[in-house]
Structure formats: structure tokens, C-alpha cells
Amino acid sequence: MAAVIDPLIHTSPAPSLDQAFPDVVSIDAGGATVVQADRLLEVSRYLRDQMGYTYLANMTAVDYPDHLEAVYHLYPMKVIGNEPSQGLIIKAHATDKDDPVIPSVTSVWPGANFQEREVYDMYGIRFAGHPYLRRVLMWDGFEGWPLRKDYHEAYYEGDTKPFASRWPGGHHVRAEERARFARNVAYPRHWDPAKATSPDESLPVVDVSELNTIHTQKFVINMGPQHPSTHGVFRMQVTLDGETVVDVMPVIGYLHRNHEKIGERNMWLQNMPFTDRLDYFCSMGNNTGYALAVEKLMGVEPPERAEYIRVIMQEFTRVQNHLFGLGQFLSDLGAFFTPILYAIENRELILDLFEMTSGSRMMCNYMRFGGVAYDLPPEFMPLAHELAFERLPREIDELEEYLTANEILHSRTIGVGVLPAEAAIGLSISGPLLRASGVKYDIRRHQPYGIYDRFDFEIPTRPNGDLYDRYLIRVAEVRQSIRILQQAFNSLPDGPILAGRKAWQIRVPKGEAYGRVENPKGETGFFVVSDGTANPYRYHVRAPSFVNIQALREMSIGFKIADIVANLGSIDIVLGELDR
């Protein structure tokens, strides 16, 4: 058994940035480090190699009136005991809005690849040196940079909600009737719709490989967006040599629902139900992440009972997500449909709890800034208790009984889809995927939020980073979640569930915050910028699926076509947050 890599430990602290690059960096009003754009690459290398910031958690941009700002959230993979690791925020400015250029950091942190493409797609910032800078969520040929503040979509009604047309003189009118031809859509000048064509989706030319004497051809096949194994509307272009995968290119954006654009128009509270629809398996976790980010800005802390309820909800979420994820994964391996049917039984029982507490099975909309929306109903406790102490442990044992020793599972998964630890860190992978590759990193432990520091649980890791490990890690995490649940039930206090009064008009002090939670799929982060008004100035979601999907190429190359499906299942993507 290979040794578990405990994250890279740095013993000698390197000189800080402003000492090493005195004339390159400056500190802005919010305390973030602003790096001169032309020296960004140099500083990034220093940060990674000398200071140990090997993990680029989040990368996005903000559109300010006079410049575009790229924001990078970095974390060291440095763990000494349980000491929380401090993050670092660096920023780079592009002042020319007509042709903004910032050097790409993909050579330093390969995980920036998709995130930079997203920023390019949304803001038009060109990342010099990016290996494949094309639109990622929208299609090639789409006109406009949607997240810029001057971009108005077809049904644009106003910069901020609430819209004045709803009350007091609110006569219902459909947006599509009001804007028949989408007046705000920027069609290019002298462009003829009759000659319009869809972007060229033809696949790369088949090339004859010069392998030995047999003439084999590499060919490209297209899986998705409608394909039973893609967990939704996900598409991949797979280049094959025989049955061996030579290259994989994920094509995404088929469920791009403009969360961030809508989020910047919404009031702070109005974003909460929209976060439900990101990772629609884990609405409780998304709610918490968003609440954490805004609570950071507001400086409120939820009362004790609310914190416990949040933990209970998040851990139930993790259990049901992992059970369902394992079921899906096994379906992808060909185990129709026993595992998923068994998993859904338990998931349904957990969803019952969500429904009786929050009112909805999936779209819970349960967290509020400074607490939770409702107290637990009286019938919750007996059922939840029964579930956490009796049924779930029994069911997870049963799952292991019928699967873990299964020889077919072994032969399909052991040694397949390997993702090495270094590659995983470089690609900014998070969640079970990272831990299955042997990196002991869990935000609940390493940057504890809420009251996770009070619970006694382990961070399971596996050494090999193959499919089987990813299966085992989820089983182990469910067991740990059950442990947390049991502890939480044993010490759930009474008391209020919300700090302050229920309010819908919330003003958030000026500033920016990044709230990150360990969601079942990985790090879900919410980056919010407030300008002191009732609406967020910037609302960005760092979605684990979006970043984790970059590992698909790494783990699939050299394996067979059938393994791609399994690899995808083991990443456990959900399209709602992949495309947002």
C-alpha cells in the first residue's frame, strides 16, 4: 500500500510577498494583494513554489466601472495538526476594457484552466498563454460578455430587484410578449439572420496513426449531451485509438442558467433559493455556503441550536448524496439498478426529513443569514434518530456486504482511472476525489466553519486514487457523517434558531467575502462582493463539479472507453452547478 501523502509541509517560511516583490504588489482597501498584471506569472510561481500555495481554490473576476479585476483564492495544502490554514487572495487588474489581457496561470495551477475559460466567456478577459481559450459555458459565436455590468439580456427589466412593475400597479405581462425580439440582444451590425449558422461542432479530423503495420485510425466520438451515462446534459468528445482513450474533452454549458447574472440582480436574501438549484442534491450545503459568505460580511453568528441544525442537515445531505452518487456510479459500471434503488430508499427517507423541516424535498431554501428558517418540527427527532442510529448504519453495512467484496466491482475498478495526488492538487480537485487520491484535506477540519471543530470524526483517505478508492472513500464518509449526526443529536441544545429578527431587506456592509464549505462533491465556495446596497455587486459560485471535471481527462487517458463512463460517475458531477 502506497503511503498516504500528507499535504506538503513547509518548515521554513518564505519571505512574504511584499518583501519578495516590493514594487510589484500592493495591498488594496480590502486587504487583498494586488499584483501587477504583467508580473502575475512570476508572483504565482513564487507563491506556489516558495510559499506553499499549491491549491488554487477559486478564480473569478469582477467588473468595476474602470477596470476588470481577476481574483484568485489560494490555499496552502499545509496541515500541521488541526491548525486552520490561512488563505491568500491575490488580484490582478485589466484596465483596458475593450481588450483586457491578463497572463494565464494555467502553467502554475492547471486547475485554473476551466475557471479562466469561464472568466473569458463571461467577461472577455483574454488570458495570455492559456492553452485553449474558448467559450466554455456559452457557444462560440455568442455575442457579448454576459457578466459585464453593461450587458443586458433580452428580458432585462432593471438593474436590481424588486422591479417597479410588480407593485402597486402590477398588471401581469409575459416577458416574451414585452420583448418579442429581445431588444437588448446585441446582434452584430449588417448581420443577416437568414445566413446564420450554428457554431461548427464538427469533430477534429480523423488521423491515421503511424503505429506499426496495421493501419489503425484514431477517431473521435461524441458522448452527450443526451447520453444515459452523462448524468444530465454533459458532453464529451473522446478521441479513441481502438478502444483506448487518447484524449477527452468535456464540453459543457448545456445547463448554463445564468445564476451569477441573476444573482447580481437579486437582493441578498433572494439568492438563497437560487443556491438550492446549483447542486440540487445538496441544497442544504449550498445554502450554508452562501449564508456563511454573507454572514462573514454582516458579522453575525448563528445561535447554537441553529449551528447544530445546520450540521445535522449538511450531514444528512452528505449521506443521501453519497448514497445516490454510489448508486449512479454503480449504474454506470453496469449494476442496473439494484444499488441505486436501494440507495434511493434511504435517500427518500432523508428527503422526508428535509420536507417536514423546510417544506421541500430538494429545494430546501432553509438557511437564513444568522440561522435557519424554521425550527425542527416535533416529529423530526424520532424519525431522524431512528435513521441515524439504526437504519443508516445498518444500510451502509448492507451496502458494503453486497458490494465491497464483489469481484466484478473489483475487476472494473481496481487500478482504473488513477488520479495521482500531485495532479489532483494541481487541478484544484476537492472533496472525496482529492481524498481518494491520498490528500488528507477537508475544509470541515482544516478551515472549520460553523461548529465542525466540536465533532469527533475522521477524514478518510485512500492511497491509490483509483475508482475503487473513490467508491470506498464515499462509503467511509457516509460512516463518518453518521458519526457526526449521532454526536449532534446527543448534544442538540434548545434555544433560538435565528440571530436577530427575520428580515427580508438586508443591507450588507461594503466588502467582499469568500465562504467555502465542504459539500459532498467538494469545495463549494461563494464569493460575494458588496457595495453596501441591498443587492450583491458580484456573486460568484465556485462549484466543485465545474473544477473537478477537469480531472476526467487526467484519469481517463490510457484507459478504455468503458472506463470513461465509470470515471465520470466516480467524479460525481451534477450539472446544475457544473454549468450554473
Binding site: P162, H171, M272, S358, G359, S360, L383, E390, K502
Partner: protein, 222 residues
């Protein structure tokens, strides 16, 4: 032995199969206890897990939210909605349209003249009900709303949205009791304050006795 893992797995599925026939008859009685509504508890949910919709339905928890409904006083026929517009403002996808009523003298009347809810936009977040200061908009339990058409019928107007207090008390007995208590308390306070000056106003609504426990069957709109 190679293959023993597979065999053990198949034994588990066999056990489930057998349980379907041994456990289910035991539960049929428990199911019958609540007509049309099934409750499944974690340890009870063994064997056959299926709810035989539409013959039997799953019990709906009180907080369940589907589309909103407007509360109308069962005795006086008066809207509880004062057309303050909070629901329209707090609505995340902005799916509520309200025309505020006007009195003959031109002043706003605390009653909506028109109230629209676009059900093709509503995301059922429940904010309207949560933040309504008058308990006038609540979340309906009725989920059986499929239709062959949406252009005419999917925009709910005031008439379609309105339900009586009796209906609300029946579907949400617990919330109704709590809210009634709060209202009664507030009324008493107001009365105490206003007692010297004006005669006591007649109670706005006598709280109807909560009906039988919710059956789980989604009742139709009255």
C-alpha cells in the same frame, strides 16, 4: 473463493425480495390506519417500499410548499391581504403582480384589486408566506395541477389563489393554531390600549376549530 462476493451480494437481493412478501402484509394494516395517506418511518420502511399512488398517497407534512394561496376570511369574505406588496418585492423570480386597490377618494385601499401569480416562473421558495406580516399568503399543498394548457390557466389570478381560513386551518392545523394565538394576543393588546377611547371592535375572525388531522390527500382548491 472467487465469486463468493458476487454470491453474497445476490443473497442480499434475495433477502430483499423475500422481505417484500413477508414484511409488506404486516404493514398493510398500518397503512390503512390513515386513509389515503402513507407514512413511512425508517425502520418500518422495509420490504415493499412503493406507495401505490394514486390509490394511496404519501402524507404531506404541514410545511410542504407548492404554489402560494391567498387567505380569505371564511366568515366575512374579506381578503386578509392588504396589498402591501412585500410578497411581490421579496419574490426572488418576481412572479407576483399586484394591483393595489384604490378607495373612491383616491387613497390606497388595503386590499388587492388584482393579484397574479405566474406559476411558470414561481420557484416555490416560500418567501411570500414567510415574510407576509398579515398571514395572508400561505403555501398550498395542492400539487396535482397538471394541465394540457398553460397560456391561459398558468397565470393564477386572485380568484384562483384565494382559499378560506377554514381551508387553511384544515391543511395547516399547527401553523393556524400558532398564528391564531399570536393574533389573539395582539388583538388583546390593541384592545387594552384602545379600550378607553373606542368600543372594542368585533373580533375579525373566529378561529375555526381545526379539522381532522391532514389526510395527506391534496385537497382541491375551494
Amino acid at each position: 473463493m472467487f465469486g463468493s462476493g458476487v454470491l453474497r451480494g445476490m443473497l442480499v437481493t434475495l433477502r430483499h425480495f423475500v422481505e417484500t412478501y413477508t414484511e409488506d402484509p404486516r404493514r398493510v394494516k398500518a397503512r390503512a390506519a390513515t386513509p389515503n395517506a402513507v407514512r413511512q418511518t425508517p425502520n418500518d420502511a422495509r420490504g415493499l417500499f412503493t406507495v401505490q399512488y394514486p390509490e394511496e398517497k404519501l402524507a404531506i407534512p404541514e410545511r410542504f410548499r407548492f404554489y402560494p394561496m391567498l387567505i380569505v376570511d371564511g366568515t366575512t369574505g374579506q381578503d386578509w391581504c392588504t396589498s402591501c406588496g412585500i410578497c411581490a418585492k421579496v419574490c426572488p423570480p418576481q412572479c407576483i403582480w399586484i394591483v393595489r386597490g384604490t378607495q373612491p377618494n383616491g387613497k390606497p385601499k388595503p386590499e388587492p384589486e388584482e393579484f397574479y401569480l405566474d406559476t411558470t416562473i414561481c420557484m416555490q421558495c416560500g418567501y411570500c408566506a414567510e415574510f407576509c406580516p398579515f398571514d395572508a399568503i400561505k403555501m398550498n399543498h395542492d400539487y396535482e395541477l397538471s394541465a394540457y394548457e398553460r397560456h391561459e390557466s398558468a397565470i393564477y389570478n386572485k380568484e384562483m389563489l384565494s382559499v378560506t381560513t377554514t381551508f387553511y386551518a384544515r391543511t395547516h392545523p399547527r401553523a393556524w393554531a400558532e398564528e391564531s394565538a399570536v393574533r389573539a394576543e395582539k388583538e388583546a393588546r390593541d384592545k387594552a390600549k384602545a379600550a378607553p377611547a373606542t368600543p372594542a371592535p368585533a373580533p375579525v375572525a373566529a378561529a375555526p376549530a381545526p379539522g381532522p388531522a391532514p389526510t395527506g390527500a391534496a385537497s382541491t382548491r375551494p
